[in-house]
Subunit: 494 residues, 2 copies
């Protein structure tokens, strides 16, 4: 859920010792790769909110405040009257989400809304303890509950400050951000009148459902494009496995263009993880036009991947080139470094690289449960488990924490949403996260929207000529429902 | 809200250097004063639950567990099927609440319920850090949110352990315990199907309403009995004030039977607080029979107080004797010690004495807002303010904390309960806390019940021949509504 976009800055820079530096999104704005965004992006002001460090302990080390970043624009706002559209920032630099959620801006323009994108604590520039934020115990203030309390307080205070006390608030979010939007609505309905939760896997991250679902659904994307694609991928991994068993590391290095030859089962495990992750990302980002949200991705990456798999001279080099769509989009890499391109963490779908990946790893080690496995039977990948036991072991060692299985379900209701209201759960059928979320409407105001041709929160992206009809329809529904919520909230408070 | 019952142990022992020791409630059970409870009390087992110390920080000092006490009886339970009735313990020893909430046991017997009374962290024997619990920073884990999470986890785990997974849960609470019941239902509707919140001042403790309401309503109780009563009290305080201005401390000592003569305006302030507190307690505990919940209280204490006030030889000694109803029920005191009988704290309605009073003071210094004032205009007491500024100053000095005004309203919705359901807000018209709560039904399932002749959560007490008709009617309504909730919850989950 997190891996993806973090690769961007990294890949743009290419390799060669610069792995510590990431381009800031503002710098990226000046980069031709993303210049197409520039004209469309709203005129956001970057601001900081004096935020309470620890909402849940008055005598902790967090007895103070930190600067939490947010982006705001009132260019569309019907001042004092139009609603407040608030993006509940998730695991990354808030500019990334603002620049890749153009639909929210379009909706703000259409409905006269004040628009805010809030950055999640411990991500981007919202580091409560600066570079010490990921030390123990400083990292302990990184929890879902703290993040929600941040948003509740920020909304309450900014409404006051901006003369927006009467303005209904609608929250938006994609992926983990969508989960936060759901949680904001169920925990703070006094503050939030409705939530659009795009691609929010609220069930699978709460330990509900089948641990095989995620990689099964990644596989389905490729299989649906062409059953031979799945077979080719599975065959390539099989060949790799055979060579590994023979400890023919030289041939593996050559076939996969590795900078160094693997020398242990651990290196092979790492290679398998890196390769599997490429498919995960292409499935999630299977948009009908090229994107620069999570690395540079071609249009229809699943199609490109399958064509690459099926047109290769041999299976293993085809697999290498397919992974290269993700890891070597610029073509500048001459070899792949196993441990800098992919970092294993408590999220088997990837944590990405950099500061933000540490934060996400911590969250996956505490509240967010992501014990997904591949098994080569229900999916096309090598068997790679990530059990609750493995998670406990890793997280204890890495962060000194004991994950509390079941806690997220207790805190945020799991699948028992019967008392909730005013939430849209949108999901794209191409998105491997989709079936970890709510796929069927639960009531008149808990509305599931399916986007058959949609990948990971496609609906939140700005309108594009290549958009399939299904996402256009979905956005229209979302727009109408939100307008209704705003109207009803206004009526109620008047 | 807290003061009251803590006086019991203290007063039973009388004075003379024994002020450090309190009778345990179990000891009290063997004491003739409370022996009438013995036959009626259900057969509770006292147990301990291994509770998470810090639900909101995986790397804090609270990275462990503590033993949380609870009382349980399955003597009425229709095993595996009957509901779970769960008392959300408040600011004190859980035995006190169990022994003074007989209605819940009666209801459990009638409806085949499993019955649990859970003790609030930092009270009674549920001290997370033993005698160090009230040190800084250890005390920091005392918050409403932690207490709610305790109950959520305890319910979830005990249901599993007891084979009660299918049993709907109804929470009960009085006063702050009633607030916790409301919060449980709005925060954890996945766990709790309904809440009976008796005398829960959810509005006034969230900073909503009029800071003069509380002592105005205390005054009203006495005034309603006889307008001359209010005049007499006001006259007595006036005389005291005049003597204090004249610095005639000897005469004050003599009139009020003080062990030591007052010697400063601070002592006079303390005396005023002590006297005002007696009226608060008698108004809250204005039951139609004698009780031993909060000290030993005669039947109809407001009536007794007013008769005492109006039949005295002079106003000041009448005021002394009226306060004696509370502070000297056994008649064994020969003089009053200003600073051991009453301790000023962040709750102007009193924090009581002992460990539990420290905990309540801390809560009033952090989340619970109790900035109530008397002013001698809308009430009969000397002007005594407790502003947000005074609170900040006191709490900073006492606990090193800065109260976060408005936080409880943000967290628990204040008066914006439109999305909540299945809560009974019962209030007695005699109770000065009543008008700080919900007095009018907000929807078909947010039901306000008024008990005209009821004092502080009278409805939760066991049936008594002296009960007024209004509380009998209220209990019947509560019983029927709860049975409906249980039925509906069972239907929903089947």
């Amino acid at each position: 859920m997190a891996a993806h976009w973090l690769f961007l800055g990294f890949l743009l820079l290419g390799f060669g010792g610069k792995t510590e530096t990431r381009l800031s999104v503002k710098e990226k704005l000046n980069n031709e790769v993303v210049s197409s965004h520039r004209d469309l992006a709203p005129d956001f002001k970057e601001k900081y909110f004096k935020q309470v460090l620890d909402h849940f302990n008055y005598n902790s080390l967090g007895n103070g405040t930190f600067d939490q970043r947010y982006l705001i624009t009132d260019q569309y706002w019907e001042k004092g009257n139009g609603p407040l559209f608030f993006y509940t920032g998730n695991e990354g630099d808030i500019w990334e989400f603002a620049l890749n959620s153009g639909f929210i801006s379009e909706l703000a323009a259409a409905q006269g809304a004040l628009l805010i994108f809030a950055e999640h604590r411990y991500y981007g520039k919202s580091l409560p303890f600066g570079k010490d934020s990921f030390n123990v115990p400083e990292v302990g203030l990184l929890t879902v509950e703290q993040a929600l309390a941040d948003y509740a307080l920020m909304i309450t205070d900014l409404k006051q400050e901006l003369g927006a006390q009467k303005c209904p608030v609608i929250v938006f979010g994609g992926s983990y951000g969508g989960m936060l939007s759901v949680y904001m609505r169920i925990r703070y309905p006094n503050i939030v009148s409705g939530a659009l939760a795009a691609s929010a896997p609220i069930l699978s991250t709460a330990g509900l459902g089948d641990s095989r679902q995620f990689f099964r659904d990644v596989t389905t994307d490729f299989e649906k494009f062409n059953p031979a694609c799945r077979e080719a991928v599975q065959g390539a991994f099989q060949k790799l496995s055979t060579l590994a068993q023979q400890e023919d590391y030289r041939r593996i290095q050559s076939a996969f263009s590795l900078c160094k030859p693997p020398s242990s089962p651990q290196d092979i495990h790492q290679l398998n993880g890196l390769l599997r992750n490429a498919f995960t990302m292409m499935a999630m980002m299977d948009y009908p036009y090229s994107t620069h949200f999570i690395g540079s991705m071609p249009a229809f990456p699943v199609k490109v991947a399958c064509e690459t798999m099926l047109n290769g001279t041999d299976l293993m080099s085809a697999l290498r080139d397919t992974a290269g769509i993700v890891y070597n989009s610029t073509g500048q890499l001459t070899c792949y470094d196993l441990y800098s391109l992919y970092v294993e963490c408590a999220d088997p779908t990837g944590c990405g690289l950099g500061f933000d990946s540490k934060a996400w790893d911590y969250q996956a080690c505490t509240e967010i449960e992501l014990c997904y496995e591949s098994n080569n039977v229900t999916d096309m990948f090598p068997p790679m488990t990530f059990t609750e036991q493995q998670r406990e072991q890793y997280c204890g060692k890495r962060w000194g924490v004991v994950p509390r299985s079941g806690w997220l379900k207790t805190q945020f209701w799991g699948d028992d949403l019967s008392t909730a209201s005013n939430i849209i759960f949108s999901n794209g059928d191409l998105d491997p996260w989709a079936n970890g979320g709510i796929r069927k409407s639960l009531s008149r105001s808990l509305i599931a929207i399916s986007i058959p041709e949609g990948a990971h929160h496609l609906d939140l992206r700005e309108s594009n000529p290549a958009d399939p009809e299904s996402v256009i329809v979905a956005r229209k529904m979302e727009s109408e429902i939100i307008a209704e919520w705003v109207k009803a909230a206004r009526k109620e408070s008047s």
